[in-house]
């Protein structure tokens, strides 16, 4: 007599158990997102910068945004800049290393129904000797069956520069900036967008830095001051005393840009180009590229490149000439020692990695190395810099 095979009964019991477990898991699974719930986006980043001119910056920042299904949104952000500097410009004026903290906060509100959008933003920034606040309004409208989206914006910024320990009522340099910008996002194909843009800025007021004092040379020695001349050489050749920086009160700036983004099967290429000109005679172009590769379903890596090249403002001089007349020194009306007003080029190479530990959460890290050359400045003729930024972002309902 053949014994009964227990396998079918065991299989049946296993099937019941599997069904029971499945039912339990289903009962415990989180409900699908409620489409009527408010959607939250949050992000935080910490960045650090250090360069060969002994400047270190540490910047933690956080931002959050809430969006309702009807299209309304509100956002807020906060960042702190902790700057420690003993740059050659500081050392050359016999000043010690200083550390300063800047707080910046922003608030925004907007509405976007997918076709028409309106957004308002406000930003305030505070340092012991500098206060800045700005407000902006942006209107956008999609057309051509959402193959194009036109954005128009206006922004106003007010800056007040002073001296630490001196009330702004006693000493302050005030300046304003009005910005008008237009951007057109075009869908060129199922994986390509192109966004040309134009920014026009009108600045007025006192833009010089209160602490910036420049050496002055006489006619004969000015030509003998080479690019990158050391502090010792400058001190040996310059005239007694220093003059304060002085900039023109008005500046018009124009920046034309284009962003091209293409999504390949497993990578994304983003190219950005900017051409810039201003009323002080500066011309510049900037190229930024990033190619993000998906190396695993939740892991991406990318190389990044940024090239920036600019000419000097028309009143830039490596060595300003002062002339003694009637017991006083006659100096040029406009003069600056800010290297960012001079001729320079910068090449930045970077690499980044991002992981998604959970759905709608992302951790990223990018490390950059930059080299800047200053062909026509005092004290230094180049600068090496490293910049690292770690970020986290999440979204939930």
């Amino acid at each position: 007599m053949a014994l009964p095979n227990p396998a079918p009964a065991r299989l049946r019991r296993l099937s019941y158990a599997a069904l029971l477990i499945g039912a339990t898991v289903n009962a415990q699974a989180p409900p699908s997102p409620d489409p009527s719930a408010v959607r939250w986006d949050g992000s935080a980043e910490v960045s650090g910068y250090h360069d060969s001119d002994h400047v270190t910056v540490f910047t933690p920042a956080a931002r959050a945004r809430a969006r309702t299904p009807s299209g309304w949104s509100a956002s807020g952000g906060y960042l702190i800049d902790i700057v420690s500097a003993a740059s050659v410009d500081i050392v050359s004026t016999a000043s010690p290393r200083w550390t300063e903290v800047r707080h910046a906060a922003n608030l925004g509100a907007g509405y976007d129904d997918g076709v028409t959008g309106l957004a308002a933003t406000g930003v305030a920034s505070m340092e012991p000797d500098y206060v800045s606040w700005s407000a902006g309004l942006q209107l956008s409208r999609a057309f051509a069956d959402k193959h194009a989206r036109l954005s128009l914006g206006y922004g106003y910024q007010r800056n007040i520069a002073g001296r630490t320990g001196t009330p702004f009522a006693v000493y302050a340099l005030r300046s304003d900036r009005h910005t008008v910008d237009a951007r057109l996002e075009l869908v060129l194909g199922p994986a390509t967008t192109l966004t040309p843009g134009l920014d026009v800025m009108f600045e007025s007021g006192r833009q010089e830095k209160p602490y910036r004092w420049l050496p002055v040379f006489d006619d004969e020695t000015a030509d003998r001051v080479p690019p990158g001349a050391s502090i010792e050489l400058v001190d040996r050749l310059r005239l007694p005393g220093r003059m304060a920086e002085r900039l023109p009160d008005r500046r018009r700036r124009v920046a034309a840009s284009a962003r091209l983004a293409h999504r390949f099967r497993r990578s994304t290429l983003v190219l950005w180009e900017r051409a810039y000109a201003d009323g002080w005679g500066m011309l510049a172009n900037t190229t930024d590229a990033r190619w993000v590769f998906d190396v695993a379903p939740r892991l991406s890596v990318w190389p990044a490149l940024r090239l920036h090249n600019q000419s000097a403002v028309t009143f830039w001089r490596r060595a300003y000439v002062g002339r003694f007349q009637d017991g006083r020194v006659d100096v040029p009306s406009f003069r600056t020692g800010d290297r960012e007003h001079g001729r320079l080029w910068t090449a930045t190479l970077g690499a980044g990695v991002a992981v998604e530990p959970a759905r709608d959460s992302r951790l990223s890290l990018q490390l950059d190395g930059a080299y800047t050359e200053f062909p026509d400045t005092l004290y230094i003729d180049h600068r090496w810099a490293t910049f690292v930024v770690a970020g986290f972002s999440t979204r939930f309902r």
């Binding site: 960042l79 910005t179 034309a256 930024v389």
Partner: protein, 68 residues
């Protein structure tokens, strides 16, 4: 006419380059890496604003600072 030529060429290229893309075919356009807001965070934006004489072109509003 020579002055208008670049603009004419740009418009012609854009017109020729635009293709109709149905809503259901826009999955790749919606990929997070295509989002302009992923281009740079506040730390990087501040760094570029301080170290480059040129500004603008990124479509975000920041506050000024006495950083340099």
């Amino acid at each position: 006419m020579a002055r208008c030529l670049p603009a004419v060429i740009a418009v012609a290229l854009l017109s020729a380059g635009c293709a109709r893309v149905a809503p259901y075919a826009r999955g790749r356009l919606a990929h997070p890496s295509m989002d302009p807001s992923a281009d740079q965070g506040p730390g990087r934006a501040g760094l570029h604003a301080v170290q480059e004489g040129a500004i603008g072109g990124v479509g975000t509003r920041t506050s000024g600072c006495g950083c340099n």
